[in-house]
């Protein structure tokens, strides 16, 4: 039988197995190799919600999806072309993600009686046969048996040998998608540098999996995916949370002030605190506080002392911080609040994604408490937006809310490394020491510059001793003031100061399409990839649709209103019940239609495209 070689423009593979099967490692190795092959790609891990769910059960299934291609890739893919399942539970949990007629690569050893029972199949069920009957192409491999056979002479224990099963499978996939093995071989040698026996065994399993695929003619087709046209540069793979860590470290290294992170662990934001706590030699001090309130309060204390105070959390944690964010608004000190959003109110779905904290960011505080709001659109974008949030917080002496979500926090994509000299140092307005003798002018802590920004007067600086607090302050001296006109003035000043940030941010650009037309799709945050894909596909189908994606949510870019008014219809897709839609309607008095889903998962490209086409045609 001869094997047909096929070119593919894009492929989505989903790896699934028990938490102990090394699925995430397999996925990340396939990702690295694919990146080195020059494809564009996007990945998303699907962890089980339980830390140690019983082995073999549906609750214990770990997944990893990679979407790669010879064209620009913006999402990890709605549905997969290839589903790799290490056991029955993995098939049960993931078959719904496989395209009809797609390929299943099944480890038959994971489909024994016990596996079926753990996966809650009936004893008489034959899920593999059923899948075949439903039109899927099923490739059956007894991975356990083959790996044990392959490694029988290594002198390793059976337990150690079984841990290499994932490499055998990876070998099969490398052959199927014509990928080179060298990067994974190098990785294994690095990872097991101190255990050369284990490294060798894993490499042998990888090679034997590759050879097995050739020798047994498992597949009738083999695929190749050409390199994508990618902007030249040096790239690495990065998750959103890691990009925030690097963004914060970059601000600390490039600027003349230290950074302080006060945080309390919370899913899905904890990786930021974890990451920065390992960077003690980068000018960032981390503090794991006793609770969310102490986390933000400590950041405010540090900001008062001349560090940039940052706090990281998720929606429920930000709710606890809201009073302190109000305080920072009154104090007019720099503060960055990172909200890695998760699904639902209260505990909700902590490991799932949603965009439903936008209203909280806009309005979730007592009194008139304006803050700046930014959002990140992809894992790599988190770096730039973090840097920008820190810049605005310091240069405008204001709390800045940075919204990401669980999807981009854990998802990964290639990131083009920035050129460090191009990372502009953040410019703090530190007030200089002064002689407070008789002829010295009194220091006025709330006297503003032309952008309504007050000075950063740091303890230890001679002549600047002053008191600030949450009580309303006189507009210059900062002393307590109950004067009605002063309160009106200060309320307006705080708002105007926030609004004037619009003078320091770029104009909104169109991401796709013309500046006028029939339909404009407006997005923010993690829906970028989905919207971008849906709009591009709809445009390829001849639809008159444009797309703009907002990074700056408050204030909006100055030209946003005029861009919006250039279209007959506006569609705002969001993973919430229509929060940006409402804000845009209120702000610009334009009819805005929402496309809203709250299922804890990213929006589907196909579904959104259908909506776009329907709106373009009506």
């Amino acid at each position: 039988m001869s094997i047909i070689e096929k070119q593919k423009k894009e492929v989505t593979i989903r790896f699934a197995g028990d938490s102990g099967d090394g699925i995430q490692l397999t996925g990340s190795q396939f990702t690295s190799t694919t990146a080195l092959s020059g494809n564009d790609l996007s990945t998303f891990p699907d962890y089980p919600a339980e830390i140690r769910a019983p082995a073999g059960t549906v609750a214990g299934v770990s997944g990893f999806q990679i979407h790669f291609g010879s064209k620009a890739i913006h999402t990890p893919g709605d549905m997969c072309d290839v589903l790799v399942v290490m056991n029955a539970a993995a098939l049960k949990a993931n078959l719904k993600f496989l395209k009809s007629g797609g390929i299943i690569i099944a480890n038959t050893d994971g489909f024994g009686k016990k596996d079926l029972s753990l996966a809650k199949y009936a004893p008489e069920d034959t899920p593999i046969q059923d899948a075949k009957n439903s039109g899927y192409i099923v490739i059956e491999i007894d991975v356990t048996k083959m790996t044990r056979e392959s490694l029988k002479d290594t002198g390793l224990t059976l337990k150690e040998i079984d841990r290499s099963k994932n490499m055998f499978v990876l070998g099969v996939l490398y052959w199927l998608f014509s990928r080179p093995k060298d990067s994974t071989i190098q990785f294994l040698n690095r990872k097991f540098a101190k255990k050369p026996g284990i490294a060798e065994a894993n490499i042998k399993a990888l090679n034997d999996g590759f050879t097995y695929a050739i020798a047994t003619e498992l597949f009738s087709e083999r695929y190749s995916v050409d390199a994508a046209p990618i902007e030249p540069g040096t790239y690495r793979n990065i998750t959103g949370n890691d990009a925030i860590v690097l963004g914060i470290a970059a601000v600390a290294k490039r600027s003349e002030f230290p950074v302080f992170l006060g945080s309390y662990p919370i899913t899905p934001a904890s990786e930021i605190l974890q990451g920065l706590s390992g960077l003690k030699n980068y000018g960032v001090t981390t503090f794991q506080a006793e609770d969310e309130i102490a986390a933000v309060a400590s950041a405010i204390g540090a900001s008062f002392g001349g560090s940039l105070g940052i706090t990281t959390s998720s929606g429920p944690g930000v709710a606890l911080k809201s009073e302190a964010i109000g305080l920072a608004t009154m104090l007019e000190l720099p503060l960055v609040i990172v909200n890695v959003q998760r699904a639902g109110p209260s505990t909700g779905l902590p490991t799932k994604t949603e965009q439903s904290d936008l209203m909280q960011a806009f309005y979730g505080r007592a009194g008139e408490a304006p803050v700046a709001i930014l959002s990140a659109s992809s894992p790599a974008d988190c770096f730039d937006v973090t840097y920008e949030a820190c810049r605005i917080a310091v240069e405008h002496m204001i709390p800045v809310m940075l919204l990401t979500d669980g999807y981009i926090a854990n998802g990964a994509e290639p990131w083009k490394l920035p050129k460090i000299p191009e990372l502009k140092p953040v410019d703090p307005r530190f007030e200089k020491a002064r002689d407070n003798g008789q002829d010295g002018e009194p220091f006025l802590p709330y006297k503003r510059d032309e952008n309504l920004v007050r000075p950063w007067a740091v303890p230890g600086t001679k002549g600047l001793a002053h008191r600030i607090g949450g009580l309303e302050k006189d507009h210059e001296t900062g002393n307590i003031s109950y004067d009605p006109d002063n309160h009106q003035k200060m309320t307006e000043m705080r708002e105007m100061k926030r609004d004037m940030i619009a003078n320091f941010i770029p104009d909104q650009q169109m991401d796709e399409g013309n500046e006028t037309g029939k339909l404009l799709v407006v997005g923010w945050g993690s829906t970028y990839g989905t919207i971008k894909s849906a709009v591009s596909e709809a445009r390829e189908d001849g639809m008159d649709v444009s797309f703009l994606h907002l990074r700056y949510l408050n204030p909006f870019p100055k030209n946003l209103g005029s861009l919006l008014s250039g279209f007959g219809k506006i569609l705002v897709p969001e993973i919430n019940r229509g929060q940006l839609s409402r804000i845009l309607r209120e702000r610009f008095l334009l009819p805005v239609e929402g496309f809203n889903r709250v299922q804890g998962v990213p929006l589907m490209v196909a579904e959104l495209k259908e909506k776009i086409i329907q709106m373009c045609k009506s």
């Binding site: 040096t234 793979n237 290294k253 980068y282 006793e290 002392g305 230890g460 001793a465």
Partner: protein, 350 residues
Amino acid sequence: MSTQKTANQTQTNGNLQAKDFASDQEVRWCPGCGDYTILKQVQNLMPKLGLEPENIVFVAGIGCSSRFPYYMNTFGMHGIHGRAPAIATGLKVARPDLSVWVVTGDGDALSIGGNHIIHLLRRNLDINVLLFNNEIYGLTKGQYSPTSPQGQVTKTSPAGSVDSPFNPLALALGANSSFAARAMDRDPKHLQSMLERTAEHKGTSFLEIYQNCIVFNDGAFSPYTDKSLRDSTSLYLEDGQPLVFGSGDAFGVRLDGCRPEIVDLRSGKWSKDDLWVHDEKDRNKAWLLTSLFDDNTREGKLPRPFGVFLAEERPTYEQLVRDQISAAMERHGEGDLEQLLTGEETWTVK
């Protein structure tokens, strides 16, 4: 860059006086409030710190006591209810060079801010905590507080409070405080010496000050503070000295095993040599001292101790944080941003 460029540190010229630490703001506590004395004593203390006003920061939460920073000509922050210890923690970790003071009350520290005070104490930052305890909510006009005695009738406990009160010093020791002391507004001289000890101690100093709220809880502490009663109800602790009280040191406290008991030194049965000798370094004895918390209006009850219960040296949190940073610097050198951003694996597209 990781170093502080702002602090223009100055050494004291030695000429500063208490009045130099008073701000230009009108002090607005009720006439006769115990806070006035405490403010005066703190201002009297300030020149002794040997620091310029700009190197001192007062942080407060919410409540009558928490207005304190406005009246000090130092740096100050009037924060939000209960959170002063957390704000001060961030400040002190970021700026170990500053002298940081937290002024708080029984509601602020022990009720809404209870979680922060215990964590501040266990971490042992070099922060001075002045807890003005008046056993009532004053700023909200007279509701019971977490230190109000059981049965106290207030606006929200018309039939008497059913809450069992906190014993603040026992709470502090339970949170592994390294310094715990008690003073009263009505004995300014002793208060001054306690403030000095509070300032001297390296680590979190917890000073509870009995403070009379003249409007909503007048006389709450009069059994201890009234000059006519003080002798028989208050016991002034001195390191290395036996526990004596009463007019002419008529009484003493001895330990019967772990049980403190009052002995009459005039009886001829007991002498000072039989008494419990105070040792500020002895955590076990400090525990026992906090148990001297009886209602002293009743006959034969143990006296209420004033003074330093415990003063124990142990590393401060901010020092441990700095040590880890220095160790990381030594081991890896100053962080290389290029290397950090590059990570472990990259690829180049041409």
